[in-house]
């Protein structure tokens, strides 16, 4: 196995890292994205091949064990990836991300065991390994909790009392334990405690984040896994791990900031869990009335419109209504009504969630308007249909300084002539904030399951269009 000289290995490292960079770059444009993913996968393949073939100083290679583990991992990953529904994509990405974190956690704890067993402790390597352990652990349990929250098995109300103080104390304890252990690495017990604390921190820090902030937290966890991979790369002096990990870390960080900006919130306030059911808005809604609309009236409004905008939100994903939206669009286009989709950057539970769902339903992406385009288009819109969106169309963000979302850029659908809101009932949104949109004079409510309402609208439209 010594046929690979160090120079050759370095050359392959360079090729592999370049493939990752080209892959990521191509992933950032719709035309080239598909090839970008394949190119990045090739980079990964080369990296794994080198890891398998490069000469090692000690050990028995254990190729049998590796082959079996690779086979099982690949089979499980491939099957899961083929089965998952597009609406479950946020959970899926969280789960995969958590597994990457767990991988970093296991190899770091193994290496730390090695260090202590052989008593060969180089402080710099020791510190990076501890940090890889710490960050990998946080990413692992954090992603699992995020998975639970997105899948609905972890409730948003499950929060520790005084969570911010608890988290801060835990973080401080972690940092001091790492500093102490690096300076006096005499026993391994403290390493286990650090791991335990880090695992706990992952749970408590994600539990504390409000449901509406999930897109931010998924980006953060993604970045953390990247950083833990990079630290593990320092540990093995492996440049592919280091550079690819850092690329993921920094791209995850910038995505996090983009998401925060889209909600006009600071990262700190997201982590402190500002969005919650407890915030009180200045708007009193107790005695206000909403106007209901019948399916018949709503379809007539749509039929005789020029421009119609559909605003999808998480409710569309839950109701699996993306395909019906597309059918409604086709039906309306047949009678020369212009249909566009207005996509808020944080609609859904992960960045770009709505785009994926609508792409699944074959909606042409030139019809998807981002925040800025949508707000221009909305001025000439006759009817806006809100399908399971709430906070991203809440006008309190514009005019109610008492509202927790005040200042967040929203889709200004009240600029159009009419709004139809498809809604199950009068409960407030995922973030628990009251929405004065429902009581606006331009707004009419169509109560019921979003998908069923859309089906009835579609059928009625077919009748009156004939």
């Amino acid at each position: 196995m010594s046929s690979l000289s160090p120079a050759l290995i370095n050359l392959f490292y360079l090729i592999s890292v370049s493939l990752f960079i080209v892959g990521l770059q191509r992933l950032s444009s719709p035309k080239t994205a598909s090839s970008g993913n394949l190119i990045a996968a090739m980079g990964m393949g080369i990296g794994i091949l080198i890891a398998l073939l490069m000469p090692i100083s000690s050990g028995d290679n254990n190729y049998g064990v590796i082959a079996i583990a690779l086979f099982f991992g690949a089979a499980i990953g491939y099957v899961i990836a083929g089965r998952v529904l597009m609406t479950q994509m946020p959970e899926m990405v969280s789960l995969f991300n958590g597994l990457g974190g767990a991988c970093a956690l296991f190899i770091s704890i193994a290496e730390l065991l090695n260090f202590h067993e052989h008593n060969s402790i180089d402080p710099a390597t020791y510190l990076t390994t501890l940090l890889a352990l710490l960050i990998g652990s946080v990413a692992f349990t954090g992603s699992l909790v995020a998975y639970g929250k997105l899948a609905g098995s972890v409730k948003d109300s499950w929060k520790l009392p005084k969570a911010n103080i608890f988290n801060m104390a835990l973080l401080l304890a972690l940092i001091s334990a790492v500093i102490y252990q690096t300076q006096y690495p005499t026993s391994i017990e403290l390493v286990y405690i650090i791991m335990l604390f880090a695992l706990t921190y992952g749970v408590t820090f994600v539990l504390n984040v409000g449901g509406a902030d999930m897109p931010v937290i998924i980006s953060i966890l993604n970045a953390l896994t990247g950083v833990s991979a990079a630290l593990a790369g320092v540990m093995y002096d492996n440049k592919i791990m280091l550079l690819a990990g850092i690329l993921v870390g920094s791209s995850g960080a910038i995505l996090t900031l983009l998401m925060c900006r889209a909600m006009n919130r600071s990262l700190i306030s997201v982590l402190a869990g500002g969005f919650g059911g407890t915030s009180v808005s200045a708007v009193q809604v107790g005695d206000k009335m909403v106007k209901e609309v019948s399916v018949m009236d709503a379809s007539i409004m749509l039929r005789y419109s020029q421009n119609v905008v559909i605003v999808p939100g998480y409710g569309m994903a839950v109701a699996q209504a993306q395909k019906i939206c597309k059918e409604l669009e086709d039906q309306l286009e047949q009678v020369a009504v212009n249909v566009r989709y207005a996509i808020h950057p944080v609609a859904g539970r992960m960045p770009g969630h709505m785009n994926v769902l609508l792409a699944e339903a074959n909606v042409d992406y030139s019809k998807l308007l981002d925040l800025e385009e949508a707000n221009k288009f909305l001025k000439d819109t006759d009817v806006t249909i809100v399908v399971g969106a709430n906070d991203v169309v809440n006008p309190s963000a514009l005019d109610d300084p008492g509202s927790p979302i005040y200042g967040m850029p929203i889709l200004e659908i009240l600029q159009g002539k009419n709004v139809i809101v498809l809604k199950r009932g009068m409960s407030s949104g995922y973030s628990g904030i009251e929405n004065p949109l429902f009581f606006n004079e331009k707004t009419k409510m169509l109560f019921g399951d979003a998908k069923n309402s859309l089906i009835s609208l579609l059928e009625e439209l077919k009748v009156i269009s004939d």
């Binding site: 050990g59 296991f106 492996n238 992960m350």
Partner: protein, 101 residues
Amino acid sequence: MNLIIEMLTNNLTILFALVMAIFLGFELISKVPTVLHTPLMSGANAISGVVIIGAIILVRQSESYNYVMLFLGSLAIVLGTINVVGGHAVTNRMLQMFRKK
């Protein structure tokens, strides 16, 4: 403190590469349209599975009777491979939907 300075001076070249990689990551992502945020994240997530390389090295460097290492290492390989293969496959599925147009 000495530890940190020692780390920095020993790894100067790699630190240059690191700083470049950070800026590169920022540059690559900051211009991405919303349409691609989800595939991009899941693609980046698959790339972070690169940590599997470490798991492979760990198992190779272990003696064949060191069951603790073999167990931890192979578990890490399984989880890492799920992340890599699943991540790329799921990204590919999403991107195929965009390409149909």
